[in-house]
C-alpha cells in the first residue's frame, strides 16, 4: 500500500511542531551564544511554548485528524493523529507545565555555580514535551509507544544531567532500567493485541474487540500488558520504584517535570487506550486499574508518612495522587451505563488539571528552597512563614489542596469528582478506599504545613533565600491556577466535560 506522500494537516500538528522547532532552536542558539547567556535560551523556550499554547487556543473547538489510512475507499478511515477537545486539554496541561518547568529551570542553569548546561536542559525539556504533545493526540498504538519513548529518552538525560554528580547518575540509571523494562512489557502487550485484532489503530481495535464472537484471552492479556508501560509513566504501584530515587536525585525542576508533564503524558495514553481502544474489554482492565489505584494510593500515602526530606515526601505524594487519578477508570463497571467511560475520563482529566496546578506550586517553592538548601528536611522548614511568608503561604495552600481540604478548595473539588465517579459507577469500595486514603494523606500534608507556620525560638535559624524573578513568575502562575480552580471550578470541570463527549472519536 504505497501511496504518494500524505497530505499533512499542519495546523493539527502545530502545537507539537512549534515545541519541536523551539527545542532545536534552543539547541542551536546555545552553540552561538556565550556560555552565560542562558536567559536568551529561556526566552526562546518560553516564546515557543507560548506560541504552542496559542495554537492550542486556536484549535479549540475543532476536530482535526491527520496521518490517516484507508482514505481511498473511505469505508473505514483511521487516523493516527487526532486533535479534539481531549487532546487539547492534555496539550494545554503539558504546555503550561512545561512553561513553569522552563522558568524554574532557568534559576538552576543561570546560577553562577551551576553544573547544568542551559542549552541542553532547555532542549531536553522541550523535546520530551514534544513527545507528550504527540502522545495526547496519538490514536494508534505504534504512535503511542513511540511518543512515550520520546517523552522518556530526554527525561533520562535530564535526570542525569548535572555534571559530576553520582546521585544523579544512579537516579538516571534506575529510571532508565525500570522504564526500559516496562516499555518492553508494553510492546509485548501491543504485539498480542495486534495479533488478536490485526490492527494498531485504536478505533479499529475497538471494532475488532467489540465483536463478542471473537473475544479472546489473548486480546485481554494484551490489553492489560499494554497498560504496564503507561502505569510506569504515571508512577503507579508496583511500577513506582524509580520515583522517589529519581525525584530526589534529579534537579527539582526535573522532578516537577516528571511529576506533572510526564505523568500527564502517561495518563492521557492510559485514558485514550482504555476508553478508545479497549472499551469492550473493560471487564478485563477495569479491575486491574482499580487494583493499581488502591495499591498506588495506599502505598504512596503510607510511605509518604515516613519521609523526612521534602523532595521524597513530594515524590511519594505524587505516587499517591496518581492512584486517585486512576480511581475513575478503575470504577468503570463492565456492562455499565453508556457514557460511563466518558464520565470516568472527564473525572480523571479534572483531577489531573487541579493536581498539575497545585503540584507545580509545591515543586516550584521546593525548587527555590533546594537551590539554596539542597536536600532540606521537613524539619528545616520550621517557621518558614516568619522569614519567607509568601513561600509558606503558597506551599501551605498547595499541600492542603493536595490533601483536599479547605483552604485548598481546588483539591476538595478534585476529591469530590473522583469520589463521585466511583460512587456513580457503583464502586462503593473504591470510594471508601479513597476516603481512608484522604485521611492518611492529611497526616503528612498537615504535618509539613504546620511546621512551616510554627513558632521558632530564633528566627535567624529559619530558611531564608531570594526568590528569583522567573521562579516567582512560575510559582505565581501555578498558584493562580490553583486559586482559579478553587474559586471557579467550572473552568476545569467544563473543560473536562467538553473533552469527554467524544469517546471513540
Amino acid at each position: 500500500m504505497i501511496r504518494a506522500a500524505q497530505t499533512v494537516d499542519w495546523m493539527a500538528v502545530a502545537p507539537a511542531a512549534a515545541v519541536a522547532a523551539t527545542a532545536l532552536a534552543v539547541l542551536i542558539a546555545d552553540l552561538w551564544l556565550p556560555s552565560r547567556r542562558s536567559g536568551v535560551l529561556t526566552a526562546i523556550g518560553t516564546v515557543g511554548v507560548v506560541a504552542a499554547l496559542i495554537f492550542v487556543g486556536l484549535l479549540w473547538g475543532d476536530r482535526r485528524a491527520t496521518f490517516c489510512v484507508g482514505a481511498a475507499d473511505a469505508a473505514f478511515t483511521s487516523c493516527s493523529y487526532i486533535v479534539n477537545q481531549l487532546t487539547l486539554v492534555f496539550q494545554g496541561v503539558v504546555l503550561v507545565g512545561t512553561l513553569v518547568v522552563l522558568l524554574l529551570a532557568h534559576t538552576d542553569t543561570a546560577a553562577p555555580e551551576s553544573r547544568l548546561p542551559g542549552g541542553e536542559t532547555g532542549f531536553l525539556v522541550l523535546a520530551s514535551a514534544t513527545g507528550a504533545l504527540v502522545l495526547a493526540a496519538g490514536r494508534d498504538l505504534a504512535t503511542i509507544v513511540v511518543a512515550l519513548e520520546v517523552v522518556s529518552l530526554p527525561a533520562f538525560a535530564l535526570v542525569g544531567l548535572r555534571r559530576r554528580d553520582r546521585r544523579d547518575a544512579e537516579a538516571a540509571l534506575t529510571f532508565f532500567i525500570v522504564s526500559v523494562v516496562s516499555v518492553a512489557v508494553m510492546i509485548y502487550g501491543v504485539s498480542l493485541v495486534y495479533g488478536a485484532t490485526g490492527a494498531l489503530h485504536l478505533d479499529r481495535i475497538a471494532v475488532a474487540l467489540g465483536d463478542p464472537d471473537t473475544r479472546t484471552g489473548l486480546a485481554a492479556a494484551g490489553a492489560v500488558l499494554t497498560l504496564v508501560g503507561l502505569a510506569f509513566k504515571i508512577g503507579a504501584v508496583p511500577f513506582h520504584f524509580w520515583v522517589p530515587d529519581t525525584y530526589s536525585g534529579a534537579p527539582v525542576f526535573v522532578a516537577a517535570y516528571l511529576s506533572v508533564v510526564s505523568k500527564a503524558a502517561g495518563l492521557v495514553g492510559l485514558v485514550v487506550v482504555v476508553t478508545h481502544g479497549f472499551a469492550a474489554y473493560s471487564d478485563a482492565w477495569a479491575p486491574v486499574v482499580a487494583a493499581l489505584a488502591v495499591a498506588t494510593m495506599t502505598f504512596g500515602n503510607v510511605a509518604a508518612l515516613r519521609q523526612r526530606t521534602a523532595i521524597r515526601l513530594l515524590a511519594w505524594s505524587s505516587i499517591a495522587q496518581a492512584g486517585y487519578m486512576l480511581v475513575p477508570l478503575g470504577a468503570v463497571a463492565a456492562g455499565g451505563p453508556t457514557g460511563q467511560l466518558g464520565a470516568a475520563q472527564s473525572a480523571t482529566i479534572a483531577y489531573l488539571c487541579i493536581y498539575a496546578a497545585v503540584n507545580l506550586g509545591a515543586f516550584g517553592v521546593l525548587a527555590v528552597v533546594y537551590q539554596r538548601y539542597p536536600g532540606a528536611t521537613l524539619e528545616e522548614f520550621r517557621g518558614l512563614v516568619h522569614r519567607e511568608p509568601a513561600s509558606a503561604v503558597v506551599l501551605g495552600f498547595s499541600l492542603l489542596a493536595l490533601a483536599g481540604l479547605p483552604p485548598g478548595v481546588a483539591g476538595l473539588w478534585a476529591k469530590i469528582v473522583v469520589l463521585d465517579a466511583a460512587v456513580s459507577s457503583g464502586a462503593g469500595w473504591l470510594a471508601v478506599a479513597v476516603a481512608i486514603n484522604t485521611v492518611i494523606g492529611l497526616i503528612y500534608y498537615l504535618r509539613w504545613t504546620v511546621l512551616m507556620f510554627s513558632a521558632v525560638p530564633d528566627r535567624r535559624a529559619v530558611l531564608s533565600y531570594d526568590v528569583p524573578p522567573l521562579s516567582g513568575i512560575a510559582i505565581g502562575l501555578a498558584t493562580a491556577g490553583g486559586i482559579a480552580f478553587s474559586v471557579l471550578p467550572q473552568i476545569v470541570f467544563g473543560l473536562a466535560e467538553a473533552s469527554s463527549g467524544i469517546v471513540g472519536g
Binding site: L405, P407, I416, S424, G428, V439, Q490, A496
Partner: protein
C-alpha cells in the same frame, strides 16, 4: 435582602483574609479589635436576618441565593434560611462574638493573637456557611472548612503544659472528623447520583421518592454514620474528650457550642428529610447507641477528676438526647433534638467559659487542685457554675429542660413504623441516664463550690468574675433563662419545618 446571607459568610472571610494581609506589627496590635468588630457585625447581620425572616412562613426556605457555581459538578452556590437553620446561625454568630470579645481581655496561652483571631473568623465562615447551605456539596465545603482552623486552635493555643498531648488531641480530632465527613460525602454522592441533583430543597421536597429503599439505606448509613462522628454518637466519640479538654477556652466553647451542632444539624437537615426511609430503617440502632451514649457519658462524668474533662464528657450524654430525638422520627422528637442542641450550645458554651476562667485562676482544672469552697473565695464564679450545672441537668425553667423533655416525649411515642416497646426500653435507659446526669452535676457543684476553702489562701492572686467576663457571658445566661421560660421562641420556628418532611 438575599445579600444578607452572603454577607454573613463574606464578612468573617474578609476579616480573616484582611487580618492575615495586614503588616505583622499592625496586625498584632489590632487583631482583637478587628475580631470583635467583624464578629459583632456578623452577629448584627444574624440578628437582622432573624428580623427580616418571615416567621409566619418558617417552614419555607427564605432569602434564597441560587447561583450555578460548577454545573458540570452539579454544584450551586445555594444559600437560604428557614426556621431550622435560623436559630443555629444566630447561635454560631453569638458564640463567636462572645469568644472574640472574651479574647480581648483573656488572651489564649501561646501568643500569636493575629493568627488566632483570623482562624476563629475562618471557623465562623465554615460554621455559618454550613447552616446556610442548601446544596449538598456546598454544605460539604463549609463542613470541611472548620477542620484546619480548629486543628490549629487546639494544637497551638491549647493546654499550655502538655504540648505533645494537645497536638495529639488536635490530630485525633481532625483525622476522625475527616474520615466521618468523607463517608458522609459518599452518602451525598449516592443521593446525588440517583436523584440527579444536590439541591437540598428539591431533595427534601422529594422526600426520598426518587430513591429506592436499598439506596436510601446505604445513603442513610453513610450520611448518619459520617455525621455521627461529628455529633458525636457513642462509640464514635473517642476523639471528643481530649479535643475539648486540651483546647483553649475559646476552642472548647466553639467545639461544643457549634461544631457538634453541625453534626446534629446535618442529621435533621439532610438525613431525615432526604433519606427518611433509610433513617427509619436504622433508627433503632441510632436510638440504641444514643441511649448508651447518655448513660456512658454520665458514668464517665462520675469518674472524672478534672472539670474540663467532665464538661467534655457531659457533651457525649447531652448529644445522646439530641440523637435520640432524631431516632424517634417524630415532630416532637425532632423539635427536641433541635432544642436540646441549641440549649447544649448555650449551656456547655457557658460551662466551658467558666471552666476556663476557673482554670486560669487556679492554674488547673483538676478537682484536687480546685479543692472545695469556691463559694467562699469566688462567690460569683461559683454561683454561675452552679447555675450552668443546674441548667445542664435540665431544671425546668431553664433551656436544658425542654429539649430533653421533647426527646423523651418523642421516644414515648415514636413514629408508627418503629417498634414502640423497644423505644420504651430506650426511654427507661435514657431516664436512668438523666438521673445519673443530675447526680454528677450536683456532685460537681458540691465538690467544687461548697465546703471549706482550703485552696484560696495558697493562691497568689484571685479575682472574682470581672466586668469584662460579665459582659461576655451575660448573653448566654440571658438566653438560657429566656429559652427556659419561652421555648416557643424557637419551637414555633422549627416545628413548621417538619410538616414538609415525609415522617
Amino acid at each position: 435582602m438575599t445579600v444578607l446571607l452572603n454577607l454573613a459568610i463574606g464578612l468573617p472571610l474578609a476579616g480573616c483574609v484582611g487580618l492575615a494581609a495586614l503588616p505583622a506589627a499592625t496586625g498584632r496590635r489590632w487583631a482583637p479589635t478587628v475580631g470583635v468588630v467583624v464578629a459583632g457585625l456578623t452577629l448584627a447581620l444574624a440578628v437582622w436576618i432573624a428580623a427580616v425572616f418571615d416567621r409566619g412562613a418558617s417552614g419555607e426556605v427564605q432569602l434564597v441565593t441560587d447561583l450555578e457555581w460548577a454545573p458540570a459538578l452539579g454544584l450551586s452556590w445555594r444559600l437560604g434560611v428557614d426556621g431550622l437553620s435560623l436559630p443555629f446561625v444566630v447561635l454560631a454568630a453569638l458564640l463567636v462574638f462572645c469568644c472574640l470579645l472574651y479574647t480581648v481581655r483573656v488572651k489564649p496561652h501561646g501568643g500569636r493573637l493575629r493568627a488566632f483571631v483570623a482562624l476563629v473568623l475562618l471557623l465562623e465562615v465554615g460554621m455559618i456557611g454550613t447552616f446556610l447551605a442548601f446544596d449538598l456539596l456546598l454544605f460539604f465545603l463549609f463542613f470541611e472548612t472548620v477542620l484546619i482552623p480548629m486543628w490549629f486552635v487546639i494544637a497551638w493555643w491549647g493546654e499550655p503544659k502538655d504540648q505533645p498531648g494537645r497536638v495529639a488531641a488536635a490530630t485525633t480530632f481532625i483525622l476522625y472528623t475527616l474520615l466521618g465527613s468523607a463517608v458522609m460525602l459518599i452518602g451525598f454522592l449516592i443521593v446525588g447520583a440517583r436523584a440527579g441533583t444536590f439541591d437540598m430543597v428539591e431533595l427534601a421536597a422529594q422526600g426520598g421518592a426518587s430513591l429506592p429503599g436499598g439506596v436510601q439505606l446505604v445513603a442513610a448509613l453513610a450520611i448518619v454514620g459520617g455525621l455521627a462522628v461529628k455529633v458525636p454518637l457513642w462509640p464514635l466519640h473517642t476523639w471528643l474528650p481530649d479535643a475539648h479538654a486540651k483546647a483553649p477556652t475559646v476552642g472548647s466553647v466553639l467545639l461544643a457550642g457549634v461544631l457538634l451542632k453541625m453534626g446534629s444539624y446535618g442529621l435533621v437537615r439532610i438525613a431525615v428529610p432526604i433519606v427518611p426511609d433509610g433513617v427509619r430503617q436504622i433508627a433503632p440502632v441510632i436510638g440504641g447507641l444514643a441511649v448508651v451514649g447518655i448513660v456512658y457519658g454520665a458514668l464517665a462524668c462520675l469518674a472524672q477528676n478534672d472539670l474540663k474533662r467532665l464538661v467534655a464528657y457531659s457533651s457525649v450524654g447531652h448529644m445522646g438526647f439530641v440523637v435520640l430525638g432524631v431516632a424517634t422520627m417524630t415532630p416532637a422528637g425532632l423539635n427536641g433534638s433541635v432544642f436540646a442542641g441549641l440549649a447544649h450550645g448555650l449551656i456547655t458554651g457557658l460551662l466551658f467559659f467558666l471552666a476556663g476562667a476557673i482554670k486560669d485562676r487556679h492554674g488547673t482544672s483538676g478537682f484536687a487542685g480546685l479543692g472545695g469552697g469556691m463559694y467562699v473565695r469566688l462567690p460569683r464564679l461559683a454561683a454561675l457554675l452552679t447555675f450552668a450545672a443546674i441548667a445542664s441537668l435540665g431544671l425546668p425553667g431553664l433551656a436544658g429542660f425542654w429539649g430533653e423533655l421533647l426527646a423523651i416525649i418523642g421516644t414515648f411515642r415514636p413514629a408508627q413504623v418503629l417498634d414502640r416497646p423497644y423505644f420504651l426500653g430506650l426511654l427507661v435507659v435514657a431516664l436512668v441516664g438523666l438521673v445519673l446526669t443530675a447526680l454528677y452535676l450536683l456532685a460537681t457543684v458540691r465538690r467544687v463550690c461548697q465546703g471549706e476553702d482550703t485552696i484560696g489562701p495558697r493562691l497568689p492572686v484571685l479575682g472574682d468574675v470581672t466586668r469584662h467576663e460579665t459582659v461576655t457571658w451575660a448573653p448566654l445566661v440571658v438566653l438560657i433563662v429566656l429559652l427556659g421560660v419561652w421555648p416557643g421562641l424557637v419551637l414555633t420556628l422549627v416545628d413548621p419545618v417538619w410538616q414538609a418532611v415525609a415522617l
